[in-house]
Symmetry: C2
Subunit: 326 residues, 2 copies
DNA sequence: TTGAAAGCGCTAACAC
DNA sequence: GTGTTAGCGCTTTCAA
């Protein structure tokens, strides 16, 4: 039923070769008469013929497709990165295949192997398994967001530690001397770096760090867990500034403060990693770190293309965040 | 460099056929000795051999891949649908290729043609061009979210009109007699249906509809535009209830009210289409319509698979929303 | 200017 | 039980 290049060739009374040349814009280069070219193109259009990319890729050994593997595509952060990767890829005539690991290490391997067996040209990966070295030797690969502490392969990172240090210092500058940190039970290096940044800010400013002021949240039970943490930090430990390890927890914090500790709203200030529009019109004030999403996407793709096209393997690059002070 | 099935066959001292059968779990069926099977599998593992899916698909005429085309993958709504589609697809051994049309009609066609030329087995589409009939005859296709009013192909929809009618009536029940509608300049049928729902609610309750109470927002200038609309509706037209055509505009409304009309917060109530977590802890109260995201995803995939596997083309299905009253 | 033919890696009907 | 071979649809070298 479906038309193939052979059929087009037959109809045009030429060989497959000729059709192939014309279709790949090499007609002139190959000195194919414009009459023949036009005839072929007309027939192609007439039959709405679309070359089979599978066959083409098989023959060329190139799919012009890259894989984009993330823990959760419904997370707006990854969604936005995906969107920009897609835009950048388009300019370079690449298609993007997005794969969702659902934060599952085994699923991630499976997905990557699948992408590889589909002959994708490269991979951009936010990995769930940051402590394993690259198991996929031979495939161009760029890591982002979840970077192993001693990453040996290409990556695009941001300075988690420094940024968190900055927002903590902003709270200090505003007069807060007791500052708590609401964190996650997580092995992820970016989370660990944020904790370090918080601590460094305190130490740098001549305060002592107190482990009682750092509370891990049970992510499966965020809401209650944040309320409890705030109660400890604000009521028992007398903190007036709170740094949250991410925006989701900070949003919970805003809710908890309004719901259970509204008498403290004027006294307390928040800071957190990653912004949310909601912070524009919420009390208490939430100062936040903004990741350069577009830049991250752009750099990932550039680095990957350098590997694919020129076999140049850059080491890694750390991008700058910005801070919205509120 | 890369190992192929031929190489495996050579190493095992058998033919490609035998290897192929073993790899596709048809070894027993084909009565291949377990000794041979084990030997082959060992070599495969040893060389970390992964069959080239391109060649496989070319040969089989099936890619086990479906395309998922949306206007904006960074929109959490589409992100969540994508995630669930992906989960459902996995159970059926399908991979999903996500494509972003960036709300561009031409780009959308291009993407779909590309997917087709990559021989994907079917497409799930939220289209930017709802008024054109299916141009992609022959390819299994299911529409969602953006449905043409006289859609002839498979689709999964929700009842935009009825849901909006319900939330409007909730505001009426709470004692609001003057209710405004903040909408979008959009040709999209789902938007038009929401407007109709709002009007029906008023008429049903014995009120007259007043076109002055329906204001279109300039989406490129949301913030200011919403402030202006609220000013007209609340201050000039004396509305106390406002229905927003979607959650993004409602969020802007919450911000605007808090920022410019805070004296009205106690008197005014909002309702909108699509929920946001923020509405849990914002004032004024925002009653919202929740789309059954998981169900939408599940139904899209089931319908598509029925087309792919059994050539059964269901017409369309309208799913039920729920309402969060606040 | 154009075409024949080999090859990309895999499947499967058919033969032995 | 296993192998031969044609074929999936395209690219590209080499020959004419």
């Amino acid at each position: 039923m479906k038309v193939s290049i052979r059929k087009i060739a037959e109809l045009a009374g030429v060989s497959k070769t000729t059709v192939s040349f014309v279709l790949n814009n090499r007609g002139d280069e190959k000195n194919i008469s414009s009459a023949t070219q036009e005839k072929i193109l007309a027939i192609v259009k007439d039959h709405n013929y679309k070359p089979n990319q599978l066959a083409r890729s098989l023959s060329l050994g190139k799919t012009n497709t890259i894989g984009f593997v993330v823990p959760d595509i419904s997370d707006p952060f990854y969604g936005k990165i995906a969107k920009h990767i897609d835009s950048c890829a388009e300019e370079r005539f690449f298609k993007v295949m997005i794969a969702n690991s659902h934060e599952d290490k085994n699923k991630e391997s499976e997905l990557i192997n699948n992408l590889i067996s589909r002959q994708i040209d490269g991979i951009i990966l936010a990995s769930t398994q940051v402590f394993e070295s690259n198991k996929y030797k031979g495939v161009p690969l760029v890591y982002f967001d979840r970077i192993s502490p001693n990453q040996k392969d290409s990556f695009i990172d941001i300075n988690n530690q420094y940024s968190t240090e900055q927002i903590t210092k902003l709270l200090i500058k505003r007069g807060h001397s007791k500052i708590g940190f609401i964190s996650l039970t997580s092995y992820l290096p970016n989370i660990q770096d944020r904790i370090t940044g918080y601590k460094n800010a305190l130490i740098d400013s001549g305060f002592v760090t107190d482990e009682n002021n750092i509370i891990d949240i049970d992510y499966n039970n965020k809401k209650e867990s944040v309320v409890k943490a705030l109660k400890t930090l604000l009521c028992t430990n007398n903190c007036t500034g709170i740094v949250f390890v991410n925006n989701v927890l900070a949003a919970e914090g805003v809710w908890a403060l309004n719901t259970y500790f509204s008498e403290l709203i004027e006294k307390v200030e928040f800071a957190c990693f990653d912004n949310l529009d909601l912070f524009d019109y919420s009390l208490p004030k939430v100062t936040s770190v903004v990741q350069p999403i577009e830049d991250i996407a752009k750099n990932c793709l550039e680095m990957l293309c350098d590997q694919i096209d020129n076999s140049i393997i850059h080491k890694g690059k750390v991008l700058k965040t910005t801070i919205i002070e509120r």
